[in-house]
Symmetry: C2
Subunit: 369 residues, 2 copies
Amino acid sequence: MRVGVIGGGQLARMMVPAAVALGVEIQVLGEGPESSARLAMTAAGEPGDLDAVLAFARGVDVVTFDHEHVPQPVLRALVDAGVAVRPGPDALVHAQDKLVLRRRLAALGLPQPVWAEVADARALGAFLAETGGRAVVKTPRGGYDGHGVRIVDDAHGADDWFGDGPLLAEELVLFRRELAQLVARRPAGEVVQWPLVETVQGGGVCREVFAPAPRLAATAARVARETAHRIAVELDVTGVLAVELFETEDDRVLVNELAMRPHNSGHWTIDGAVTSQFEQHLRAVLDLPLGDASARAPHAVMVNLLGGPADGDLDSRVPRAMADQPAAKLHLYGKAPRPGRKIGHVTAVGDDLDDLVFAARSAVALLQD
Amino acid sequence: MRVGVIGGGQLARMMVPAAVALGVEIQVLGEGPESSARLAMTAAGEPGDLDAVLAFARGVDVVTFDHEHVPQPVLRALVDAGVAVRPGPDALVHAQDKLVLRRRLAALGLPQPVWAEVADARALGAFLAETGGRAVVKTPRGGYDGHGVRIVDDAHGADDWFGDGPLLAEELVLFRRELAQLVARRPAGEVVQWPLVETVQGGGVCREVFAPAPRLAATAARVARETAHRIAVELDVTGVLAVELFETEDDRVLVNELAMRPHNSGHWTIDGAVTSQFEQHLRAVLDLPLGDASARAPHAVMVNLLGGPADGDLDSRVPRAMADQPAAKLHLYGKAPRPGRKIGHVTAVGDDLDDLVFAARSAVALLQD
């Protein structure tokens, strides 16, 4: 059982412990010696370099991903060459192109914000007129962690982004909070879902996750579950799928976007679920039976470590965080601290939500300070 | 933070996930490309080859072990060269030499079987006369998993073992069951203990572990805890220490032997404790604050996978085991199946001991079949 992961970031890194436990041989096509997943790197190369990707793929049984940046032509060439690519290009395009996703969700009748494809300032102006004068404009491709997303209140507010094709315009959703439904699906069809979580974003980046989402209405949980199941099946997703959702002030649940790989909203599962998203992803892409996705305890709280200490010396902060919070689970990604960069996370698992929030935040604060 | 592990077996392998989470760089001096811990192997060499071991040690901050087979002269040469060796040679000798251990425990007044150092058949005969005509004879060094241990009822029953120095003779302890107390200690002095467990042996090899030990008398738990704490401190152990114990039919707790490294009796901690023995071992040898060793759930059951399927094709059994027991945690060591060989284990964690025993045994049976 050999899995090849394209991309050497922290998601590939966190697949390594799961691979070690399952007896799966994991190989990573990474960026270079600084890659977070360098321990399992067997080749260096760019995801757009077909020759490099093909050579890498020939040494494994199935290819999967650390990120969504492998171009469609490369994905299709892999499939044409007989490589098992999971998720496949027809599924993955929905996580690569926000316009493709919006069209597909509309065709499926699944809940999403009011949206339009806008080709120029005039079209954007017309959309603004429909949505109360304000809208969110997104580049269909290449956005992440808040990049390629802008709130506009003027038809010319996205003029600098036109030129590479149409943009996606969406209503500015008045949401109470953001949720995420994590699901896994294997080629044989089995689908398993973890509990719905609340994600707290700041500056376009995930900051904290509460699992399960506190004070959750039964309807919201049901809609999230059914929506994620339908997306996984209809889009023929294989592996882990994260469905990012808005919970609106009027109690609707709308699909924001998708990730087809392990996702920040599921890092809590390493310590807080019977089967982590990383183990499940390996099982799913290998078409093995999926594991129990139940929570191990009533609550889990995950807090991201963003940036790290100003002097860049993270190692020197580790002892204080460990001494202060002996039950907190530290996850450090082996990445150089840099302002805003995700370089680790801390999870606390147990019975009392307030205690867990305090523990996880305290550990992160001591790692940052 | 760079840890070097001498020996590439499954204990080194299972340190890898913990190292990945903590951001610790792990390097393994393994036996060769078939080593269980090959993913983290940076050098190949024998533990008795001082030059190889020294060269390996120079690339890391601290050296620790997958096994007890590094000869004392090599350990001492490392220390003399300024290498941080944890546990150090003066501690480790108690896990290498059963006579040294017996003498030390006697000096400390800690509970152990009646024993004698026997240099010849006459001395063994005298010991047999004292202990009802039957005794256990052990070679002081080199025994493991039942090798180097023999029950004798005749003064000449160990004649073939004399010649390399005296043997250890022990009373044949009438024990109700075997227990193991796992403890970790860091150089700064901090000591943390996991719950006492029951270990079930067969053919000299660990078969199953129940955590915590069911139906445990408070006195036995206290004696085990105090004994393990005292051994860790008095022997200046750093890292994880497993104290293997007999619970006698008359309710005494006696020390059988020691392992100064993560131990089979602690594999359940990967899934069943807040901090696994592998993470704790890394923390301890790096002199980092120790983690919470509490159980995550009321019960954990670990069953070893010994030998594997007769046709050697373990991979083909994995799907059935996963499908049958979706909550069981599989741990496969990447070793070729061979009769009696430890090639993996399965852990089940939860509330109902009987259910967990069934789940773990079922998964192992399906992997074996």
